[in-house]
């Protein structure tokens, strides 16, 4: 049995090369088909994300699994690259190390953003694609099923996924959702335009925000953005009125000075009726006078505040890493022991059969000699013989299980085969 991973990731390969090695979803099937033709009998799962390209392969017979060079040649041929360009950046892990790596990747402990949640679904999709192409088998199935289980265990038993690390997600989950219970009755005003504003709005719309007003210095641009964001455009001159009815504000203009001063806000505040206002000032320099944040029901967050929160969360995630790695290590050892034990399955089966046959013969002989026995006595004797066989098997099987923790117990299997004259 051999399980191996050959690949590259953001740790050791520049993005330019990763981009050239990446498999688009349409090309994955083609690559898997080619692999089966080139390496028949070798199971494969191709994991291709923006941060990594990895070839997981396995076979019951270790010799048929291609080495790093042959995998590099396959990748180079498929992408039209030079093999020598790839060899330096491809890593290779085998058996226990490979399983450990897969578990680490699936649990998002090897990701660029530690604990990001996307990788697990990417691992699942990679396995699904390989299964559809009939490129998987017993080994990859067991390994990937276990990887998903380990990732869930890490997610449940540590807080590594709990802390958000992107500015829009922190803004919504750690702050906006702590102020408002529901969003479907809230009015959101977006001032200016920007990628981060759009992403934040998407998070808010996922939470239920329906009423969106877009304010821009250029009304044409506001109309354009309002169409995209399913909002209502208003003239720049109506900004104060929009703020008077707003519950959430996202501001990302490129103005050189605050577009809302403290004095201006005091006037707006009078018509707001002390409702809480969540302001996300993502502009640099800031769009809202920081003094506005001191007002009683105003919760004003600048990009620096959110970045600081993200950094704190990142540090918290890092603290969770040792605990998560312990889970991965424990599960790796357990998985390998199960696989090694499974490899000894043939010998165990023969050993059982080898004892079952003489047991049945002796039992039959005894029962023939005692024809007057009633059914209950016969059953008791049968159970006694069964218990004897199980007791005889218990110690050799326990030894096999113990030895399996350290690898396939070849020596022990050989000894048992010789002692009990089992077939190869």
């Amino acid at each position: 049995m051999k399980f191996q991973v050959v690949g590259c990731s953001h740790h050791c390969t520049p993005i330019a090369l990763r981009e050239r090695l990446a498999f688009s979803p349409e090309r994955v099937h083609d690559a898997l088909d080619r692999w089966r033709l080139e390496f028949p009998g070798v199971e494969i799962v191709l994991l291709s994300t923006c941060n990594r390209v990895e070839v997981y392969c396995a076979a019951a017979e270790a010799a048929v699994v291609p080495d790093r060079r042959r995998v590099a040649e396959f990748l180079a041929r498929f992408h039209g690259l030079d093999t020598s360009d790839l060899l330096d950046c491809l890593y290779r892990y085998v058996d226990q190390e490979a399983i450990h790596h897969l578990f680490t990747v699936a649990s998002s402990l090897d990701s660029m953003v530690l604990g990001e949640s996307q990788i697990l679904s990417q691992v699942k999709q990679a396995y699904q694609a390989a299964a559809e192409c009939e490129s998987t088998g017993l080994l990859t199935h067991a390994a990937f099923q276990a990887a998903v289980r380990v990732a869930r265990r890490v997610a449940t038993e540590t807080a590594i996924h709990r802390r958000r690390v992107s500015i829009p997600s922190v803004a919504v989950a750690d702050f906006a959702k702590q102020i408002f219970e529901r969003f479907d009755d809230k009015h959101t005003v977006v001032i200016g335009a920007g990628e981060m504003a759009e992403e934040t709005l998407r998070y808010l719309q996922d939470e239920g925000v329906r009423r969106v007003t877009v304010v821009n210095r250029s009304f044409e641009r506001a109309v354009e953005l309002a169409q995209v964001w399913q909002g209502r455009p208003v003239q720049w001159e109506q900004l104060d009125e929009a703020l008077a009815t707003a519950d959430l504000v996202i501001s990302t203009t490129g103005a050189g000075e605050p577009i809302v001063t403290a004095e201006q806000f005091k006037r707006i505040e009078r018509s707001r009726g002390d409702r809480p206002l969540f302001i996300l000032d993502l502009a640099v320099p800031r769009d809202f006078d920081p003094a506005i944040g001191e007002r009683e029901d105003v919760y004003l967050y600048s990009i620096d505040d959110l970045q600081a929160a993200c950094e704190r969360n990142r540090r918290q995630r890092d603290k969770e890493l040792p605990g998560a790695m312990r889970i991965v290590q424990h599960e790796t050892v357990r998985f390998m022991a199960q696989q090694h034990h499974r490899a000894a399955g043939g010998v165990i089966e023969q050993l059982r059969d080898g004892l079952q046959q003489p047991k049945e013969e002796e039992l039959q002989r005894l029962l023939n000699k005692l024809p007057d026995l009633d059914d209950s006595s016969r059953d008791e004797i049968r159970r006694s013989f069964d218990r004897l066989v199980n007791k005889l098997l218990h110690r050799p099987l326990a030894s096999l299980r113990d030895e399996s923790r350290h690898g396939i117990p070849h020596v022990l299997l050989d000894a048992i085969s010789r002692l009990f004259r089992l077939k190869d």
Partner: protein
């Protein structure tokens, strides 16, 4: 005997549930929620059994004495706690509610040897109405206080731009504001019923000494003052819109709690004829 063992049993269960709530601040666990609910639930079962046996033993129980009254208030609070934990399992309600429950139980222990309330047959029904409504008003004020403290805590965090503390999840400000507003109204209504039924009870004049509790009795005065405060708070917030805003409602509930503590303290420490012995 029953009293001593019973109170220790459920107080210990609630204490373990509180310790488990506190442990949320230190580490994560997959089974803690179930264990915590188990302890609180077991405590509630023991608590209910204790009140049931009290009712069987004494006529008029479980509101026949000060001890019963505090234990019933604690029982209702635990029911509210289990309800909140069931619907919001990740929110740290227990950290705020269970100390109040234990405080009420401790006060009940203080009254372990108190005589039962005076009660004639005619006034029994009014006595029950009076006791129940004051218990409900007390519970509403306690819940309002919990929501108020949570509101201030959450506001403080959000104003300081801090991420949620590990293991301490609080409801949103909007939820807390609604909870504050509702508890204050419920407290006003139940307290009103309590005072009204108390007046009827007093006018029926079945007190053993002179037939009545004096209208200037410290408990009567402090309860009336608290009712007046609740009335002013509710009317002001209905008429003047800014008072309905989060922080101000939270202040109202905290002040209501202070009034309640004064009323309870008067009953504990001052000479009063309210709830005199039978």
């Amino acid at each position: 005997m029953l009293s001593g063992v019973g109170i220790i049993c459920f107080a210990a269960s609630y204490s373990v549930a509180l310790l488990l709530e506190l442990s949320r601040l230190l580490f994560r666990s997959g089974i803690r929620g179930a264990v915590m609910l188990g302890f609180a639930g077991a405590g509630l079962v023991a608590h209910s059994a204790f009140l049931y046996y009290r009712a069987v033993e004494a006529a008029g129980a479980p509101l026949s004495s000060e001890q019963d009254w505090y234990l019933v208030a604690a029982w209702v609070l635990v029911v509210m706690y289990l309800y909140l934990v069931y619907y919001h399992p990740r929110t740290s309600f227990g950290l705020f509610l269970l100390p109040l429950v234990l405080g009420l139980i401790a006060t009940a222990v203080f009254f372990a040897n108190a005589e039962p309330f005076a009660r004639g047959p005619a006034s029994k029904i009014w006595g029950m109405i009076h006791g129940c409504s004051i218990v409900l008003a007390t519970v509403a004020v306690f819940l309002g206080f919990m929501a108020g403290v949570m509101y201030f805590w959450q506001t403080q965090r959000l104003k300081n731009k801090l991420p949620p503390a590990k293991g301490l999840r609080l409801p949103s400000l909007e939820w807390l504001q609604h909870a504050n507003s509702r508890t204050i109204v419920v407290a006003l209504i139940t307290m009103g019923i309590g005072i009204l039924s108390g007046m009827i009870l007093n006018l029926m004049g079945e007190h053993p000494d002179d037939g009545r509790v004096p209208w200037h009795d410290p408990v009567v005065l402090s309860t009336t003052a608290m009712f007046a405060w609740l009335l002013v708070a509710v009317i002001t917030s209905a008429v003047y819109r800014p008072v309905r805003a989060g922080r101000k409602v939270a202040y109202l509930t905290v002040v209501s709690f202070v009034f309640l503590l004064i009323a309870l303290g008067v009953g504990l420490f001052l000479d009063t004829q309210h709830g005199g012995p039978a």
